[in-house]
């Protein structure tokens, strides 16, 4: 289904730097964010435009091939390539989050060597994700240092009222994204459409995005074609910054109803409290209520997944562990065992969806699995 609102979301999901470039052209400062654990509210409060920086993992990476090893995740290699290409030169600051610390090190070094002259200014925001008090002071320090960096960048003090206002703007986004997720469960949109509708929020100004998403939500209604599809929960070892996997799964006759990933269902989480100190509330949100594969202990990391997997309206779980996986594979036997005990079918995919024949192969594998479970074309 298409609508003008969806077309706008689709446009920004596809042309990811478009709104940021417009903001830059309009004289606004633009801060690029690598990863979802950097408080965009602070960037907004500083009067800048925050934009997520992402990269397509299937494009050639000639520069990364020289400097960055194959053991580094494809996404990081692609981001290195993007940065080296000069496409991020217009950013006033490029902030890298902890899961991308390696990227920070590589970029700092090529810059030091004089081989990355078109790189923007780099900043490392090292928020730790282990959920223990031992890291609280460090995380508080990281947040303060980030605020200072933004103040230095803009030569302006970031005051609490501005931060609170920014929080209200992003909370509106979160509320709408949660509504979108509800509609998804109600068979009103497909997995790829949901992913685009949520993902666009990382690239647009929060107000424009919220207005567009609200308009899109108002057009949604139950979609009969989706009714008889097996409902899949997706757990991926790499960020789902593309549609390939969802497209492959849905081409097999299933429907991705949720994914344990910050590009999809895990994007909004809870609101940031506006009652307490906004800085403390922001820390609380980005430290303890933001999905990332780096959360420890596993119990905290898997909380959402387990709660979702036991829903009556989940028919099965798809684990996506492409050859680049170095982490989730260690959890897989345990999680599969847990699902088996509950009688929830699961499938492990090891094909790289970015491979030229990846989508076709995944679709075939999934279709065969659904057929074996007698789930093809019907809910279980």
């Amino acid at each position: 289904l298409s609508s003008a609102a969806f077309d706008t979301l689709h446009h920004h999901y596809t042309h990811r730097l478009a709104a940021a470039r417009d903001a830059h052209a309009g004289g606004m400062g633009v801060v690029g964010l690598v990863g979802n654990t950097i408080p965009r509210e602070l960037v907004l409060a500083a009067g800048c435009f925050p934009v997520l920086v992402s990269a397509d993992t299937v494009s050639p990476t000639p520069a990364a091939d020289v400097y960055v090893e194959d053991v580094i995740p494809p996404e990081t290699r692609a981001l290195f390539e993007l940065a080296m290409s000069g496409q991020l030169e217009f950013l006033d600051l490029l902030v890298l989050s902890r899961p991308y610390a390696h990227l920070y090190y590589y970029l700092k070094e090529v810059y030091r060597l004089g081989r990355g002259p078109r790189l923007p200014l780099l900043y490392m925001f090292d928020l730790m994700h282990c959920q223990r008090e031992a890291v609280r002071v460090y995380n508080e320090g990281e947040l303060s240092a980030f605020i200072q960096r933004l103040e230095h960048l803009t030569s302006q003090h970031i005051a609490d009222p501005e931060v609170r206002s920014a929080v209200e703007r992003t909370n509106r986004v979160r509320a709408l994204q949660r509504q979108l997720q509800d509609r998804r469960w109600q068979r009103m949109l497909s997995g790829p459409d949901a992913l685009q509708s949520i993902g666009a929020g990382y690239f647009m100004s929060p107000d424009t995005y919220a207005n567009t998403l609200a308009e899109y939500l108002s057009t949604l209604e139950p979609f009969l074609e989706l009714e008889h599809r097996a409902r899949m929960l997706l757990l991926s070892s790499e960020p789902l910054s593309h549609l390939r996997l969802h497209t492959a799964i849905e081409a097999a006759g299933a429907r991705v109803v949720a994914e344990d990933d910050w590009w999809g269902s895990q994007a909004p989480g809870s609101d940031i409290s506006v009652n307490d100190s906004p800085r403390a509330a922001i820390l609380q949100k980005y430290w303890l209520d933001t999905a990332t594969s780096q959360i420890t202990p596993a119990q905290a990391r898997e909380e959402w997944f387990r709660a979702t997997a036991v829903r009556d309206d989940v028919d099965g779980v798809v684990f996506y562990l492409p050859p680049s996986d170095r982490q989730l594979g260690w959890d897989y036997p345990r999680l599969k065992g847990w699902l088996d005990e509950r009688g929830t079918p699961s499938l492990r995919l090891r094909i790289d969806a970015g491979h030229p024949s990846g989508v076709t192969t995944i679709t075939a594998e999934l279709a065969a699995w659904l057929a074996s479970l007698h789930m093809a074309g019907s809910t279980a």
């Binding site: 282990c130 460090y138 599969k336």
Partner: protein
Amino acid sequence: MRASPPERNASRHRHEQLTQLEVTRSLRAHQREWFARLREEVFEPARPYVIGGALVPHEIFEALDLPFITDVWYSGLVAARRQSAFYSDYLTQLGYHEDLSRYGSLTLAVLLDEDNPDRPWGGISRPALVVTGADDRAADALANTSGALRVALEMPSLHRLYPNWWEMSRWQWEDLDETPRIDVMLEQFKELVSVAERIAGKKLDVDRLREIVDRVNRQEEYFDEVRTIIATAHRLPARLGEVMSQTMGIQWHRGTDWALNQARAFRDEVKHRAEHELWVCPNERYRLMYVGAGLWQNLDFFTEFEDRYGAVFVRSNYLSIASDGYLRYGTRDPLRCLASRYVALSEQMHIPGLGGAWAVWEARRHRVDGGVSLGGWWGQRMVNLALEEGGIPVVDFPVDPVDANSWDDAKLRALVSNFIETRLA
């Protein structure tokens, strides 16, 4: 695939023939004796013990008299006994796919293989505590399998990158490692101490911990002397495989009297060999450096090129990081001192800029002609690039450090031979 007992005997015999250092034999004897004692006093009566990663403060366990083994040491043992291919496949069969690192996880494989009578040195029992880095999910699986407590240590990222970090690490570590980063490691170590105290049933004696940290410093000083002897001697006095085994064999027991005495004996023997011109390869022509994780599945490979080319391996990360990475003076607050030691231990060898600068400095110091660089670790390309641009030719060595499934003897021998013939000769 698993080596048969006769194959293992043949390998052991060949290894014995290549052994030149008396301390290699004394180390081997000690390890067997120590492990047998561990079996008798800890594994069999099911007393609590710790499995730790390489980059965690073993000194704390030592101070609490809490027995511990290092996961990569035991993985290395599995590899040295030619059982790594079997255990790698075993993990795959259990659902841990083949692209997951086997470096430290063979310990998990052996633990899961409870009914096998042919486990390396009789296998291990379930630990009470597993301590490694926060991103080590194999350790999560190990703790989960064992019902053990899990302490996952999270290292903060570096904000300031000092290429010549080794010039600051011994005394200027508060500046090098940044106070907030040391603080957050310290807080995590305090939590670790609390958990370890519960398991050990006693409180940590800080004075004893300081003595242990000081003893480790003295041990690393001996290693530093060995490095200097090797770097400056006319020719190579000790084979790299033996030097690596010795260094890490001692390192896994750091803080004990045995480790300090063994390190001194190691220094004495290497010094004696250099003074009496007992060279590994009297016909020495090419000096090679080995870069990357230890080739634990086949340390004898380093001797393969001595007769034909006069090529010797003179340097690895292990001996050099012992002094540049471990040494921390100013132990008034021993826990803080440890927090600094471990806040970036090993990272310095990987981080672009830091790893390359160190490798080039090391290469020049050791009068190296070329490098063999093990693949599969992050930062490798930048290190290789720095070496090449520093005038040191490097060859990529595409093999897993422990998984024998990745080993192709003829191919790897040809690779290094070709490198020597085409780039060094």
